[in-house]
Amino acid sequence: MSRLALELPGLSLKNPVMPASGCFGFGREFSQLFDLSTLGAIMIKATTEEPRYGNATPRVAETPGGMLNAIGLQNPGLEKVIANELEWLKQFEVPIIANVAGSQTEDYVQVAKEISKVDNVHALELNISCPNVKTGGIAFGTIPETAKELTKRVKEVSEVPVYVKLSPNVTNIVEMAKAVEDGGADGITMINTLIGMRIDLKTGRPVLSNRTGGLSGPAVKPVAVRMVYEVSQQTNLPIIGMGGVSTVEDIIEFSLAGADAVAIGTANFVNPFICPELIAELDHYLEQHNVDHISELKGRSWK
């Protein structure tokens, strides 16, 4: 029996490792590098109802141990994502988690309704935490009542389980988690990026044309681990943890903190082969440490 396979709402995962939304596009580029079927799942780029160009460039900046991005939810729109991207992804044996975004409740509901009908979409990830869009977005992720309402509305229409992606830019992450649990969420994914900024000393202006951006990478890992630790103790929802994962030790750390599975974002840019590499290393690590199944580690730091 596999040490890595696990069942989460809607998802039969071969292993608990998957690329995080926005850091893997729709998989096409990475499919040239390795077989996408080796992945636990794929969280595809945020999809909105209409196509979006996103923010002006520069859209990324480097920071100590991390990076800022302000892509601005660029995507070809619901229709094309279904017709081109999801259709293309059907050749792989891998469940898709569709990251759903919008500016208002109706947008989310509309995208959720349509995209959840697609065969290989096994779960939705409600992106209520993107810091890089002016309207809506982040507001949904910082007001518990709003997040709960949105979750409820999306649950009503979704044909697959709904995971809600939490923003770390809040005073009380547990309150947010409980709100979406009350709203009927089937799981939580966390964390999205912290809001940050870099200023170009030559021009005196922010490096990013959007001025602020989302901070990700190893620098944010301690914040992510702490939040997973807190939320996993206070809700009954499964958690897909992320934020700075780049080694097998990081996966174990998230697991001990209380995550069921992990997603990998920024590290894909540093090493595009990171996902399959970590899957192999994780299996080896568990074997070496006599762990029969990854789930044994879940929440051990507080149990």
Partner: protein, 259 residues
């Protein structure tokens, strides 16, 4: 095929003030089939600097399994790269992107290659390939000043070479476009790489009826997955169309992209 390889530094030298020429060896070099492609480098195993750095390929020697880059040591990444010594390893991802189409120039035709500063390097391999094919090349290279200039002799060995410096300390004083105008340079095709302002001016110049330009942008993945490096196509009714510089480019047909 895109590969990731720990390549070995064969040589590294400072060929102008803060400008380094580095040659790397490894199987990956055999994969580079076109001038103008680039590699994405991880400098050091540490998390600082975290991201890779895109650098163009200046010269390819597939038979030796080597390629050469020329880069300016500026920030943390390129400065660290400049401290590498012969025998050190560099983590290379590549080859990436689409390069300059050599096939667009026919034997006997003339190509004008217009480079600015750190945009000059990829034109060198391009010129070698064009000459190999029997295309006549004219080179117009712009630099800040004499101290920042490099490879002028190497280019001169391949074809007529004009050098422009902002302060006139080498070649003629002025911008590359001034030189082209002054000498009335004309060709069947142009290829250009350099700062966006220069590329804009070059496109307006019509030194050749058609041409190709290579663009730069801050990158995340370098392979087309993160949408960090997009630009607008010139023709775009909806406002939502885009091209990715890392995977659709960095070389585009002149006029294809809104500069």
């Amino acid at each position: 095929m895109i590969q990731k390889e720990l390549m070995t530094v064969v040589s590294q030298s400072e060929i102008a003030v803060n400008i380094f020429e580095m040659t790397l060896k490894g199987a990956l070099a055999r994969q580079i089939d076109e001038p103008g492609k680039f590699v994405h480098l991880k400098v050091g195993e540490e998390m600082m600097p975290l991201l890779r750095r895109p650098i163009s390929i200046a010269k390819i020697e597939p038979e030796k399994q080597e390629f050469t880059m020329i880069y300016r040591a500026e920030g943390a990444g390129t400065s660290a790269l400049s401290r590498k010594r012969t025998g050190d390893l560099v983590d290379v991802l590549g080859p990436l992107g689409h390069g300059f189409p050599v096939e667009e120039a026919a034997a006997g035709q003339t190509a004008i290659l217009i480079g600015g500063g750190i945009g000059v390097p990829p034109l060198y391999e391009l010129s070698r390939r064009l000459n190999e094919k029997g295309v006549k090349t004219i080179h117009v290279l712009g630099f800040q000043n004499k101290q920042a200039a490099f490879y002028t002799e190497q280019f001169a060995a391949l074809g007529d070479t004009y050098v422009a410096t902002v302060d006139g300390s080498l070649g003629e004083q002025g911008f590359v476009t001034d030189i082209i105008n002054k000498h009335g340079l004309k060709a069947d095709i142009f290829y250009s790489c350099g700062p966006t302002v220069m590329l804009k001016a070059v496109e307006r110049l019509h030194a050749a009826p058609r041409g190709y330009i290579s663009l730069e942008e801050r990158m995340g993945c370098g392979i087309g997955a993160c949408f960090a490096c997009v630009c607008h196509p010139a023709a775009d009714e909806t406002g939502t169309a885009y091209l990715k510089i890392c995977s659709d480019g960095p070389v585009f047909k002149a006029g294809e992209v809104a500069l």
